[in-house]
Symmetry: C2
Subunit: 339 residues, 2 copies
């Protein structure tokens, strides 16, 4: 049964378990430092489809099918899917889920989607509203660039503050059953907007929201950063990560540097891979890293507790053209090894 802890956090007392997880990525992600952790690497960025959007849908559907199969279940067993993506009207999700005939609760949280969908799945399973829930998300470099910045054909130069939208999808199955990893707590974030207007600097727009959610979580639970093996943001990149640490230090007196990592800095090797700039981003970046490397390490006993903080930049394809700033949001999920 969910139980409110402090002002913003919810404890999941029945310990909903991660019964299966899967991640699929594109070629460039497969060539990154975590390449050998993913379930499948698409060497064809179009995934055999005739548009980038359909490629993203195909990868999203693939990740969900794989996660369900790895949990030893079928789509017919799933009570609810929480899923979303970056595209207008969540095209990557809706067209990806179309063939699977599972109840779908669409979510929108920009790059915070993996944490938001996991949080909702955890609440539903903990409360018995669902026996089995799927949380998933996707992003694709080509569908995202076209949407938020420039058509790829334009060949625009990338700013050093840019992040590279990962071509990736991650999915997890949450339910009751045997598993080494459980969901322990969730914190749903509030929108924070400090007025950043540069759509090529998402890290700066998301860092204040990440700081707020981490501070809320630590305050609600009366814990310190070092009580966790990892505080994992996704995806602030190098610039947003530095800003997050500075903000938490100066505003809240909290030092997360000993345990912080960021999916945007893990997906690629900015020194070896071209044009990565400040790191990776996109819903699928943290989705794929959590649903491979992180859950694998937890399953293997290398990590006992990970506070996964999904961070989203809530700009739209229209809002920057109307001189709007970029609101940020961050949602947190505490994953633990089963006691």
């Amino acid at each position: 049964m969910p139980e409110r802890i402090g002002k913003y956090t919810i404890g999941l007392s029945s310990m909903p378990a991660i019964l299966g997880y899967a991640a699929v990525v594109g070629k460039k992600e497969g060539e990154g430092p975590l390449g050998n952790e993913f379930d499948y690497i698409y060497t064809d960025a179009a995934a055999g489809q005739d548009s980038w959007e359909k490629a993203e849908s195909t990868m999203h559907s693939d990740a969900v099918r794989r996660a369900i199969a790895k949990a030893g279940k079928t789509p017919d067993d799933i009570n609810i899917v929480f899923a979303g993506d970056l595209l207008p009207q969540c095209m990557g999700t809706n067209f990806g889920m179309r063939e699977l005939d599972m109840p779908l609760s669409g979510v929108y949280g920009a790059c915070s989607t993996m944490a938001l969908s996991l949080a909702n799945a955890g609440i539903w399973v903990d409360s018995s509203a669902a026996n089995l829930a799927v949380a998933s998300t996707s992003s694709h470099f080509c569908s995202a660039e076209k949407q938020f910045r420039m058509p790829l054909e334009y060949g625009g130069q990338r700013a050093p503050t840019c992040q590279w939208t990962a071509t990736a999808s991650g999915a997890a199955v949450v339910g009751r059953g045997e598993s080494n990893v459980i969901m322990d707590k969730v914190t749903i974030g509030r929108i924070v907007d400090l007025g950043i207007k540069d759509s090529n600097n998402m890290g700066a727009s998301m860092a204040p929201a990440a700081a707020a959610t981490i501070a809320d979580f630590l305050s609600d639970t009366a814990t310190a950063p070092t009580d966790y093996d990892m505080i994992l943001t996704g995806d602030l990149g190098s610039i947003g990560s530095a800003l997050l640490k500075e903000l938490l230090n100066k505003e809240n007196g909290i030092d997360i540097s000993a345990v912080h990592n960021d999916c945007g800095m893990m997906m690629f090797d900015a020194n070896k891979q071209e044009d990565i700039c400040a790191g990776g981003s996109g819903c699928g970046c943290s989705g794929a890293i959590v649903c491979s490397h992180i859950l694998r390490r937890m399953n293997d006993g290398e990590l006992n507790s990970v506070l996964f903080v999904g961070t989203g930049a809530l700009l739209s394809s229209v809002s920057p053209l109307q001189s709007e700033s970029v609101p940020g949001i961050a949602h947190a999920v505490l994953l633990r090894r089963k006691p």
Copy 2:
């Protein structure tokens, strides 16, 4: 505590209550048959803003503030907001909620959003994950036409199957406390896509999903249409409503004609108001009608039980240009007078 009933339905045993609700609409909606039911009518379609998207955000924020105030609460009391809209990256929601500093779980369900947000809010309150939750949505004729069809300046002729996207926002506060109306059950829908490709005929693309969800709900609860005072779809319009009744009759042997109504057919008077064609649509159409006329009638004892079935056409601004069909989805919420 939520309790699963049959394959797709969830009973809310603690009877989460509708503690407050509000609806704001544009001028044309205010001139419709329900004009005197709304909390506020914006005679300025721009709501004092310099873009249609910002106008929608303003109305969305206004509806949420009014609903919270009518529940005798403040935004600081709210544990979670479930909200979404039609615009790319849910701009109407994210920019509308930015100033309110409440935890936000963004949802995407196209025109099914009011039912989807209510369903999620009901589950969270019933399970004690939240004490107070807000469910809300918005749409705006001008921001939607620009996104999904033609720029208004183009002056394109409207097809007779078209629906008029309502300029409207509705919000409800769900919690524990004194109220005449409670949430009794919810059914989360699956995507149904029969291959309709005409983005000027949303009714036809959503009707099969509405039929599936209504059939699932009646089967799960072993009830008949006439066990309810109203089965209210939102928003199929006249063409989608006729198709829904035909599909349910032929495929499932279910006759809902004695109790069916549709928010798309209630918002405007197609005989008196220009260019309404097949009726109203848009997340805000059913959002505003449920959060005014319907909840007011239930509160006054004129209706005892309403099965509200929100219907969404999951097209994107991109998908029709890629020759894709329009997937439909429908989510159901059973509202009841408190016993």
